[in-house]
Amino acid sequence: MAKVIGYVNLHSDVSLKGLTERRPLASVSFLGRYGIIDLVLSNFSNSNIDNVGVLIKEKPRSLFKHMANGNAWNFNSKNGGVQLLYDEKYAGNGMYNNDINNIIENIAFFETNKPDYVVVAPAHIINTMDFSELVEAHAASGNAVTIATQKVKNADEKWIGCDYVKLDSDTKLVTQLETNMGNAKNRMISLETYVFSAKAFATFLKNAEKVSPFYSIRDMLAYSLDERRIGIYEYKGYVRCINNYHAYFDVCLEFLNYEVSTQVFHTNWPIFTNTNDTPPTKYKEHASVRDSMIANGAVVNGTVEHSIIGRDVIVGEGAVIKNSIIFSGSVIDPGSVLENVIMDKHARVKNMKNLKGEVKEPLFIKEGDVV
């Protein structure tokens, strides 16, 4: 059986305004009880890839805490596990702080595992891809690199800043890898998920050192198109890109739609996360909750509509929460009214009883703030 190792690439993370002020996108809360990184980690775990390195770009504290010993993601603990790959040296040095330098700096992870294939996947592109199928398709193709892609019809609205590919009509190999500026509807979008044959990966890293220390994996792929055989694997399942603050808000709330959530939550494809040992959600006498996702430990005594309520959140009597995302441990005092709000962890609505953001610009309340 071919050995596959994985990298979760957090170097391509984007900023989500206040949400990523003190943490990487990867550990931003997702659907009340996950971190965004849980999806890609679960994909690796469910694809039976047991050796996974997380390429951390910056602000690692909350990620270290979330990952703990990595046991929650069900990786084989003797013959695998999660390694957090981080290099302080590059953290404050923008152009050098890229995925290739991080991989080279932590090259032992690649070398000691002696893989046949390497899968690199980002955290901010949400999907439930079976990487074993991706690797199989790659192995059968004989290409040096395979990029997972999806054909989209809304590249003029979503996927801005992501990459798209163009293919040679005969060989089906990638001839162009460009940034999507939103000037066309139909694009073959790169999901920034790559599979390399191990030898090709080693050569790729070596070349990168020669070409430029500022080049990322994506840049090197674009640079190598003429000399390397780079193919694609078309992924047909659910996929969304959290590439900005609005996208985060939209993607999260979209999960309230049953047709969307059932595409992601399958019994044979569990989404793993660490446990917090919180009791079940408590709905009190004055609770009125519909069209929402509520995490364990929350105590609700108000009205909640079309919202996501995180762990241990307290919604006081008569409070009203609409179209909002409340992170774990926050407190909404009795009588408060919130609409179009993203409220970060352990914050409290106490004095300002009426907080309204816009659907297009949800109001953000910082972690720990009492407003």
């Binding site: 999960f255 009791p279 408590k282 609770a287 909750v289 069209d291």
Partner: protein
Amino acid sequence: MGKELVAMILAGGRGSRLKELTAKVAKPAVHFGGKYRIIDFPLSNCANSGIDVVGVLTQYESVLLGEYVGAGTKWGLDGNNSLAAILPAREGADGANWYAGTADAIRQNIDFLDQYDPEYVLILSGDHIYKMDYAEMLAAHKEKNADLTVAVLNVSLKEASRFGIMNTNEDGSIYEFEEKPEKPKSTLASMGIYIFTYKELRKYLLADAKKADSKHDFGMNIIPDMLADNKRLYAYEFKGYWKDVGTVESLWQANMDLLDDKNTLDLYNTKKDWKIYGEDTLAKPQVLGVDAEISNSLVNQGCTVDGSVTGSVLSANVFVGKGAKVVDSVLLPGVLVEEGAEVYKAIVDENVTIKAGTKINEEQKDVALISNNSL
């Protein structure tokens, strides 16, 4: 050096008064409170009390319980020099030996205890709902220089006839033990929680094993034997929420108690010092649909509610369809209440489907137990 204290949880009983709920699992493994199994309470209490070696004695339907307890990881009992060990009745050179009674079960595991050479042994039942700091009880045991300390609960005089009652002197020393007395002299009921000084326990267990007429039971044999020898037995009064969930009715009531804001169990850990640990089921987030109505209820992750739920406890992966009504009920994991079905004052067993249009226990006189057998 030996451990100061090792805990032993008696988890071998069937709990036959729980009927179909214990058809395939031992009573300590019965689901409780939407997220827990009963044994999570004593195990979490051990972990929170700083106890790091816990033996779990199993007999009846022990496979699931053994799997659940595993190495104790769920309760943090898996550090260095720490473990939860499953101790099923076993076959030895002298043949197969079932546990003949509570004392016999401990006696058959003297080899396990000897390994740790503890000064004290804490004996617990696997079927009570409560939060208790055993470290405080141990401190009391040491302070009194006791041979045995029995945790007691002050019950009403009316209830006292249902329990083993400890008759005590003013200083808390026990002079008499009466099992379910018709005319109780005291209202201090034994909770089945004992701290023994191990060398005394060991002696009495070995002596008891030789007695042909003994039931090998702590209450019926060991305690009376020690009293007869004028050993130092003390009662330790526990104040707080404690519930023995031995019957369908009491299991239902204990679940309902969780909905009461005045309940002193503090499951929500408002004092931030005593979490109850257990299994975090791999399940999708809990979803309330556009037609959901919910109040006064506990709901675990993985549930989908699109109907009306009041006064109820929903375990993981329960589905309540549109127009369905769930009132004053406890739904165990995986229960499916189809559109328009109605359930009143019931415990519904794991993975049972309540078909569309059915009405369960409308008259709501007694608690109904709904299992796949009863439908």
